[in-house]
C-alpha cells in the first residue's frame, strides 16, 4: 500500500484553478519532491493533503485513511513543516516542543525526554532555553522541523524547507531529511530549488500551472529529454572556423559553438572519440578537454514544463534574500 495516494485532486479559488486534477502516489520510505515555481500549486496541494484546505474535487488517502472523511485520524500520522515557521515566539524552544507534543496527546513523561532528544539531535540544546523569537532563521526552521517530528510521524510534509536560510543550515536540513528517510520516514518535499530536489528526492513531480507535467526518478526524467549524444571539445583553435569542417567530416552530426567558444558535437548514436581526435591531430589542433554532455534535471524541467530555469533562479535569489 502507498503511504499517500492522490487522485484527480482539484482546487479552485473562484475563477482561479490552483490545482488542476493531479494524481500521484508516494511510496513508503521515499522522499517525493514536488518541484515547481511559485504559484504552481505546490502549497495548495500540500494543504489539501494535510487537511488545512478542502479539495474542490478528487480523493486523498494517507496510509489508507481517507483524508476528507477522517481528517483528524490522518493528521495524527503527519508531521508538518510549513513554508514559514509557526511556533510560538513567546515560548522557549523546549516549551514549544513540549506544547506540540501535548497536541498529539503525549504525556509529560513522554514529551519532555523526546523534546530533549530532538533539541540534541538538531544541535539546539543550548538554544532550547531561549525564546523562539530570539532564534536565527536557520534555527527557527530547525526547531519547526523538530516540532513536526515530536510525535514520530509516519509521513513528514516539508514545504520549502530550505528557502531563505543560510547555506550551512540548508545543508544540515538536507542531511537530516536524508537521515529521516533512512530511518523509514516517508517525506513529501516541495521546493523550487532544482538542485535540492535532484540531490535528495527519490522521485520528483514537476508541477506547473496546477498540473503535473512529468514525474519519475531523476534518471527517468532526464531520459525523457535525452534525444542524442553530445560531446564538448575545448581546443586551441578558432571554434567558428573548425565547426563547418568537423560537421562535413562526420556526416549526420551537428556541430555547434558553445557559450565558452567550445565545440559541441551532437550525434544520434554514440560517437567514438578516436576518429574525432584523429581529425584534430591531422589538422594539428591541440585538444585540451573532451567531455560527454548529459542533460541536467534543469534541462529536463525547462523542456518538460516550458518554464525557463531563470524563473526558478530568480525565485531562489528572492528566497535567499528573505
Amino acid at each position: 500500500m502507498e503511504m499517500v495516494s492522490v487522485r484527480n485532486l482539484k482546487k479552485t479559488y473562484g475563477d482561479v484553478t490552483a490545482v488542476d486534477g493531479i494524481s500521484f502516489d508516494i511510496r513508503r520510505g521515499e522522499i517525493f519532491g514536488l518541484l515547481g515555481p511559485n504559484g504552481a500549486g505546490k502549497t495548495s496541494t500540500i494543504n489539501m493533503i494535510i487537511g488545512l484546505s478542502r479539495p474542490t474535487g478528487g480523493d486523498i488517502a494517507v496510509n489508507g485513511i481517507d483524508v476528507k472523511k477522517q481528517t483528524k485520524k490522518a493528521q495524527a500520522l503527519m508531521g508538518i513543516v510549513p513554508d514559514e515557521s509557526n511556533l510560538y515566539n513567546e515560548m522557549d524552544g523546549f516549551d514549544n516542543l513540549c506544547f506540540c507534543a501535548a497536541l498529539y496527546g503525549m504525556r509529560k513523561d513522554e514529551r519532555e525526554p523526546r523534546a530533549r532528544e530532538l533539541l540534541e539531535q538538531f544541535r539546539l540544546t543550548e538554544a532550547g532555553k531561549r525564546p523562539f523569537k530570539a532564534y536565527s532563521k536557520g534555527m527557527r526552521r530547525k526547531l519547526t522541523i523538530a516540532a513536526a517530528l515530536i510525535h514520530s510521524p509516519k509521513i513528514l510534509f516539508l514545504d520549502e524547507p530550505t528557502t531563505g536560510i543560510d547555506v550551512e543550515s540548508s545543508r544540515q536540513i538536507r542531511d537530516m531529511i536524508v537521515g529521516l528517510k533512512h530511518q523509514g520516514t516517508t517525506i513529501l518535499l516541495t521546493t523550487h530549488y532544482i538542485e535540492e530536489a535532484e540531490r535528495i528526492c527519490d522521485r520528483i513531480a514537476f508541477l506547473a500551472n496546477g498540473q503535473i507535467v512529468a514525474s519519475g526518478t531523476v534518471p527517468e526524467l532526464m531520459e525523457r529529454v535525452t534525444h542524442g549524444h553530445a560531446i564538448r571539445f575545448v581546443t586551441g583553435e578558432n571554434a567558428e572556423r573548425l565547426a563547418p569542417e568537423l560537421q562535413t567530416r562526420f556526416e549526420g552530426s551537428e556541430v555547434m559553438i558553445g557559450a565558452d567558444h567550445s565545440l559541441v558535437m551532437e550525434t544520434e548514436n554514440r560517437q567514438s572519440l578516436l576518429p574525432v581526435m584523429q581529425f584534430f591531430h591531422e589538422k594539428g589542433i591541440d585538444v585540451y578537454e573532451a567531455k560527454e554532455l548529459h542533460p541536467s534535471l534543469e534541462d529536463a524541467f525547462v523542456e518538460l514544463t516550458g518554464i525557463e530555469s531563470s524563473v526558478m533562479k530568480e525565485e531562489k535569489e528572492k528566497g535567499g534574500r528573505r
Binding site: 484546505s53 501535548a102 498529539y104
Partner: protein, 243 residues
C-alpha cells in the same frame, strides 16, 4: 485522554502566554477599577450595590471579547493557530480550550469590582453561588462572541474594531443603564436577543433584587445562547479557516 492533554496544554499555554502577562493583568484590574470610579464620580450619592451588576457585566464583556478576538487573530496572523488546526484534536476541544482561558480571565475581571465594593458595602446579602454562575455564563457567551469576531477578522485592529460594533450597543440595550421597559418599543425585542440582558438581569436579582425576569428562565436562555454560539463558532471555523 489525548484530547484532555491537548485541552489542558492549550489552556495552560494561553494563560501563561497571554492572560498572565503584566499588560493584561493591569488591564484586568485597571479597566474594572476605572469603570467603578467613573460611576461613583458621576453619581456620588448612588448606591454601589446598584452599580455593581453593571460594573461586573461591563468588566466581563470587555475583558473576554477583547482578549479572545485579539489573541486568536494574533495567533492566526503569526500562523501558530494553524498548528492547532492541524493537531489531531476535534474542533470542539479546540474551541473549548481557547474560550476556557478567556472565561477564567473574565471571572478575574468580574470580581475586581466586587473586591473593591466589599470595602464600601456589606455584600453578605448577595447570593454568591448564583452570581458566580451568572458571571460564568456572561463570560462564556461573551468569549464565544469574541471568537465569532476572530473568525471574521484578519488583523488585530480589525478584531478590536469589530468588537466595538456590538459591545457598545449591547451595553446600552441590555437594561443596565436604561431599563428595557423605558427603551423605545422597536428596540425592546433587540434587547431580548442579547445574552448580556439575561446575565445582567440575574446579577441585578442576586445583588439588589431588581431583576425583571425569572433567574431560572434567564439561565435557560443563556444556556441556549451558549449552545447556539458554540455551534456557530465551530461551523464558522470549519468554513472559514479550513478553506
Amino acid at each position: 485522554m489525548r484530547s484532555w492533554i491537548a485541552f489542558w496544554n492549550i489552556l495552560k499555554k494561553d494563560v501563561k502566554n497571554y492572560y498572565l502577562k503584566p499588560p493584561n493583568i493591569s488591564w484586568g484590574i485597571i479597566f474594572p477599577l476605572s469603570w467603578t470610579l467613573m460611576q461613583l464620580i458621576r453619581s456620588p450619592g448612588g448606591s454601589i450595590l446598584e452599580l455593581l451588576p453593571g460594573l461586573i457585566s461591563m468588566s466581563v464583556l470587555f475583558g473576554t471579547t477583547s482578549m479572545l478576538a485579539v489573541t486568536i487573530t494574533f495567533e492566526r496572523s503569526g500562523r501558530s493557530f494553524e498548528r492547532l488546526l492541524l493537531a489531531p484534536i476535534s474542533l470542539n476541544t479546540l474551541v473549548l480550550a481557547k474560550i476556557s482561558g478567556t472565561v477564567l480571565f473574565g471571572l478575574f475581571n468580574a470580581f475586581v469590582p466586587v473586591f473593591f465594593a466589599s470595602f464600601f458595602v456589606d455584600l453578605k446579602g448577595m447570593v454568591w453561588g448564583v452570581a458566580f454562575f451568572a458571571v460564568l455564563m456572561i463570560a462564556i457567551t461573551s468569549s464565544l462572541m469574541g471568537l465569532l469576531i476572530a473568525v471574521s477578522a484578519e488583523q488585530v485592529f480589525e478584531a478590536q474594531t469589530f468588537s466595538n460594533f456590538f459591545r457598545f450597543p449591547m451595553l446600552f440595550l441590555c437594561g443596565l443603564f436604561v431599563p428595557i421597559a423605558k427603551l423605545p418599543v422597536f428596540l425592546r425585542p433587540v434587547s431580548y436577543c442579547l445574552p448580556l440582558t439575561y446575565g445582567a438581569d440575574i446579577l441585578k436579582g442576586m445583588i439588589n433584587a431588581t431583576n425583571t425576569l425569572s433567574p431560572v428562565l434567564s439561565f435557560a436562555i443563556l444556556l441556549i445562547f451558549t449552545v447556539l454560539l458554540f455551534l456557530v463558532c465551530r461551523s464558522n471555523i470549519n468554513r472559514k479557516w479550513i478553506l
